[in-house]
């Protein structure tokens, strides 16, 4: 059970960080 939680927590943290990348990318300034 703890293994499942650990793996899901890792995936969730990376997914959140990718969303954070998308969020920063949507801000004015980095689009060509």
């Amino acid at each position: 059970m703890l293994d499942l939680i650990s793996i899901l927590a890792t995936i969730a943290m990376f997914a959140l960080t990718i969303l954070y990348v998308r969020g920063c990318d949507r801000l004015k300034g980095t689009r060509p």
């Binding site: 650990s6 890792t10 300034g29 060509p32």
Partner: protein, 587 residues
């Protein structure tokens, strides 16, 4: 303090500065894909790797694609390490028959090594098998260091390129960082360490009979007689080399570089310190080379050296002072004793090399230790903590130090622009609102994680305070140091704190993860934005970034930001402990 000690410190920084230029020129050649002497051997390997992994080396990435590639790579390697740790009991190279690592500890360790932190909540020689040390942990020492170098190079490209949105190819950059930089140096370096007595074997642990049996009284009052000592073995030299060169810091043994099998001689100690600063110093020079402004690279390196010197001066001075509570004891330097505070220090290194090592390992985000920081005098212990709190930019971790420093450079240029009332420029690029927004995001995430977790821990006696060995201001320092070290991806510990609990393993894992990745994203966003811009010709109003004035402004901005952010909590920790020690109180 002694002349001998200062001479050794002077030789160390002279060696760093001598090696910085050749290292920087080599790094610039590697990442600009110019010819190097290793090409005949490594180019075929590189092409084979791209073919096997179906990577197109000609494909260049936008900043967001670069960031996502880095995140996916980190996620895959983190989960691999987690699996190896959990399954080590059924995998080979486990002569001690160690069980699988407990899940939360395995997650903490996987995050720790993926983020280049190498925080260790466990005792390696009784927890990790040889396979886990090599395949799960040492590989991360290469990968996480290569990721840091790749990110710094991407940032430099953002500064040097114009009117493009491309920063390079992440897969190409980490491949070249590993093949051209880390592997060749580690190969030679690990053999040099073996020559000094660092061990390299796969033997089961040795057992030695004690000359004088020890009687130990257990918690239940039962007396046990110990007649033997277990001496841990393992493939240490190969891991030690990249542990220092990659500013990783995770020891093969619990005692880290204080262990005679990891760091046996003064020469191995010198090489280990030198290798921590080698790539970060080289990257500063590579910055100057790749942006066409070599003097700018030296100006940035000069700021690093000034901050390093302030740290080592304070730490060496504090550790050389006699302990005011030891009345009637001669604590001065003489031919027969080191003088000052030798608690927690190795006699073979002495005070100068312990203070220097502590400063170097926390200036860079290495975290290896050759003495116990928890045993330093309060102001001596303040130095390693303050070094990390400045943002790990004084040389810093491989790559991470340079890109952190460049965020401060952008802030300094912005402040200089405000002072003269002109739009700030950095090497011909106008610094605009988006760049400063991202720079502030980068700078604010760091204290938010450290102070947030430290405050939460202090407020939870059953979870946070029950693990402390000391109370009062020293206890606060132990908690603060743990979250500072984790968020700064340093990995050294103040000890005195049992961090192998669910709260600390979980919260420190989160601090390490967000301290690494949430700071990388705004940094890459700045790089992507800078690459888009046109070059503006320098004018009379342009603030030059190649002069001593720039170096002083940069140093001042770093110190002011760090001091304003963390002075209140430092005053409640080591500063208060120092004052109370003078009044006769210890904790």
């Amino acid at each position: 303090m002694s002349l001998n000690g200062w001479l050794q410190i002077a030789v160390f920084i002279a060696a760093v500065l001598l090696l910085a230029r050749p290292m920087g020129l080599y790094l610039a050649r590697v990442f600009e894909r110019r010819r190097t002497f290793l090409d005949p051997i490594l180019t075929p390997c590189e092409h084979l790797l791209y073919k096997l992994t179906r990577v197109d080396p000609a494909h260049e990435m936008r900043w967001s694609e670069y960031a996502v590639a880095m995140l996916l790579f980190s996620a895959a390697t983190m989960l691999l390490t987690y699996a190896i740790e959990r399954l080590q009991h059924i995998l080979p190279l486990n002569p001690q028959h160690l069980p699988g690592v407990e899940p939360i500890l395995a997650l903490n360790t996987a995050i720790s090594f993926t983020t280049n932190t190498n925080w260790q909540s466990y005792t390696p020689e009784t927890t990790m098998s040889y396979l886990t040390q090599m395949l799960g942990l040492a590989t991360h020492n290469f990968w996480s260091a290569a990721v840091g170098i790749a990110l710094a190079i991407a940032f430099i490209r953002g500064i040097s390129r114009r009117e493009t949105n491309l920063l390079g190819n992440f897969w190409v950059d980490i491949t070249r960082a590993i093949l051209w930089v880390l592997l060749p140096i580690c190969l030679v370096y690990s053999v040099a360490l073996v020559s000094q007595g660092v061990i390299q074997n796969f033997r089961p642990y040795d057992t030695a009979a004690l000359l004088e049996p020890q009687h130990i009284t257990g918690a239940d009052g039962k007396i046990t007689t110990v007649t033997t000592q277990t001496i841990a073995q393992g493939p240490v030299a190969s891991q030690e080399a990249v542990k220092m060169l990659g500013t990783n810091g995770g020891g093969f043994f619990n005692a880290n570089s204080a262990h005679p099998f990891e760091n046996p001689t003064p020469l191995s100690n010198f090489l280990e310190m030198l290798s921590i600063f080698l790539i970060p110093a080289g990257l500063a020079i590579a910055l100057g080379q790749m942006t066409g402004s070599p003097r700018h690279g030296w100006a940035v390196l000069a700021a690093m050296v000034i901050l390093w010197f302030a740290g080592v001066l304070t730490c060496y001075w504090a550790e050389s002072q006699p302990n005011p509570l030891l009345h009637g004891v001669d604590q001065h330097v003489s031919l027969t004793q080191s003088g000052g505070n030798m608690e927690g220090k190795e006699v073979r290194f002495g005070i100068a090399n312990s203070a220097l090592f502590a400063t170097v390992t926390t200036d860079a985000s290495c975290g290896a230790v050759n003495s116990m920081h928890d045993s330093f005098m309060p102001l001596g212990g303040l130095v390693p903590m303050a070094n990390i709190l400045l943002g790990e930019i004084v040389f810093g971790g491989v790559g991470a130090g340079l890109y952190g420093m460049l965020v401060f450079v952008i802030l300094s240029v912005f402040i200089a622009g405000l002072m003269v009332g002109r739009t700030p420029e950095y090497l011909g690029k106008k610094i605009e609102a988006f760049d400063i927004q991202m720079a502030m995001l980068y700078l604010l995430i760091f204290p938010l994680i450290i102070l947030g977790f430290s405050a939460a821990t202090v407020l939870m006696p059953s979870l946070g305070l029950s693990s402390l060995a000391n109370h009062g201001p020293h206890g606060l320092s132990e908690i603060l140091y743990a979250y500072t070290s984790a968020t700064g991806n340093n990995g050294s510990a103040f000890a005195g704190l049992n961090a192998n609990t669910r709260w600390y393993n979980g919260s420190l894992a989160v601090a390490m993860f967000f301290g690494r990745f949430l700071m990388i994203v705004p940094m890459l966003a700045i790089a992507g934005n800078l690459a888009r811009k046109k070059i503006v010709p320098a004018s009379a109003g342009t603030f030059p970034v190649t002069t001593p004035l720039f170096t002083m402004l940069l140093t001042g901005v770093i110190l002011i930001v760090g001091a304003l952010t963390f002075f209140p909590v430092l005053s409640l920790g080591p500063v208060l402990e120092h004052l109370l020690l003078r009044a006769g109180h210890t904790f």
